[in-house]
Symmetry: C2
Subunit: 238 residues, 2 copies
Amino acid sequence: MRYELYYWDGIQGRGEYVRLALEAAGADYVDVARTKGGEAKMMKLMQGGATPSFAPPYLKAGKLLIGQTANILLYLGDKHGLAPKTEAGRLWAHQLQLTVSDFVVEIHDVHHPVGSGLYYEDQKPEAKRRAAGFLAQRVPKYLGYFERVVKANKAGKGRHAVGARLSHVDLSLFQIVEGLRYAFPKAMRKLEKTAPRVVAVHDAVAALPRIRAYCESPRRIPFNEMGIFRHYPELDAE
Amino acid sequence: MRYELYYWDGIQGRGEYVRLALEAAGADYVDVARTKGGEAKMMKLMQGGATPSFAPPYLKAGKLLIGQTANILLYLGDKHGLAPKTEAGRLWAHQLQLTVSDFVVEIHDVHHPVGSGLYYEDQKPEAKRRAAGFLAQRVPKYLGYFERVVKANKAGKGRHAVGARLSHVDLSLFQIVEGLRYAFPKAMRKLEKTAPRVVAVHDAVAALPRIRAYCESPRRIPFNEMGIFRHYPELDAE
C-alpha cells in the first residue's frame, strides 16, 4: 500500500513528524501537496469525506483518512513497529508523543503569541516577551522531563525513550532538538548541555541510515521562517 | 476496579474531560487531589514511577498510570464503550478529541498569551488583542468544523458527533459549550447560533441522568477564574 501524506508544501511543520516515521519505516508514500495539483487535492479532502480534518497533516492509508499528527503516529507506530505492542507500552509512547505535541504548540506560539492569523511583524514585542519565559522556563521544563524519561528507560540503553527499540517518540525528539538548534542556536548551546540523554537519542536517530539518507535528500525541506521552528535572532538568548 | 484520577483541586481544567467520561460511564473513581493529603500524593506520583506525566491529569487504572487527557479518554473510551469499536471509528473519535485539545489550548492562551508562568494581570493588553482574533476567527473556525462533523454523522441523529452512540467526543463538546458560555457570554449568544448542531449535542449530554446528577453534585467544581474558561468581561465581545 502506498500512503498519501497531505501537508503544506514548503515547510516541515507538523507534517515532518509523520514524514520522519514514514522514512524510518521505509514506507512507500507520496507527499501529495508537493506534487502537481496536490495542494488543491489536499484542500478538497479537508472539506469533505466522512472524516475531515481541522487542518493538515492527514494521511490516507487505504480506506482510512487519519488526521492529527499524534493520531497518525499512533496508527503508523502499530503498523510499522514504531511503538511497543503491549497496551501499557502503546499508551505510554502515545502519552509522550502528545507531550511533544504540546511542546510544538508552545514553540510555534513563541513567534505567534497574539494570534496565528497575524503576521509575526504584527506581534514582535509580544513575541519577545513570550520568548524570554519560553527559554527560561518552558524549554528547560520540557527537556528536563524528557531527560528523566530517557534516563528511567534502562531498556533503551541511552538510545531510545521507550522500550528497547526505535519508536515514533525518538523520531520526534530528534526533530525537536534539530528545530530548537535552528531556531535558538545561542540558547540551545547552553540548554542542550542540561539534557545530554535527549541529545543522545537525537544522535542515535540521526545515525540511522534511512534518516541520514532522508535528511540529505530533497524530500527534507530545509528549516525556514514560515514553519514552526523559526530563527528570529531577536528572540534567541542574548 | 476503582480508578484514581489525579488532577488539581479547585478547578475543572483538563481534568474535567476525564471526570465527565468517568461520570457518564458510571465508573467507580476517586478524585485523589480532593481528598486529604491527595495533592501531595499527586505531586509525588508526577516525579517518579515508570510512566511519569509532564502535568496532571493522570489516571491510575490498576497497574497502568496514564497521562495526557486525550490518551486517558482513548483508554476509557475502549473500556467503557465511549468510542466506536472499529479501528477507523476509534481513530476518528480520537482525532476529534485531539482537535478539542487544540481548541482548549487556544481557549487557555486567550488569557495567557505571553506565558503560563505570568499572571493574567501581567498580560492584559496582550490578552485583549488575542481575544479579538480568538472570537472573530478561531471560535467560528472550531465550532464550524464540529458543526460540519455532527451534520455529516447521520447515524448520530443530531445527538452524537461520532457513530450512533454517546462518545467521549460528545462529552467534551458539552464541556466546550458550557465553558465558552461561562467565559464569553456576550460573544456566545451570537456564536452558538452558528453551530446549532454542536449545541444539540451539548443538550443531549446535559440531559443524560448521570451527567445531570454529576453537574448538580459537589463533585462538579464551579467555573472560576483559575481554570481554563475564565470570565473576564474585558475579553468578551462588546
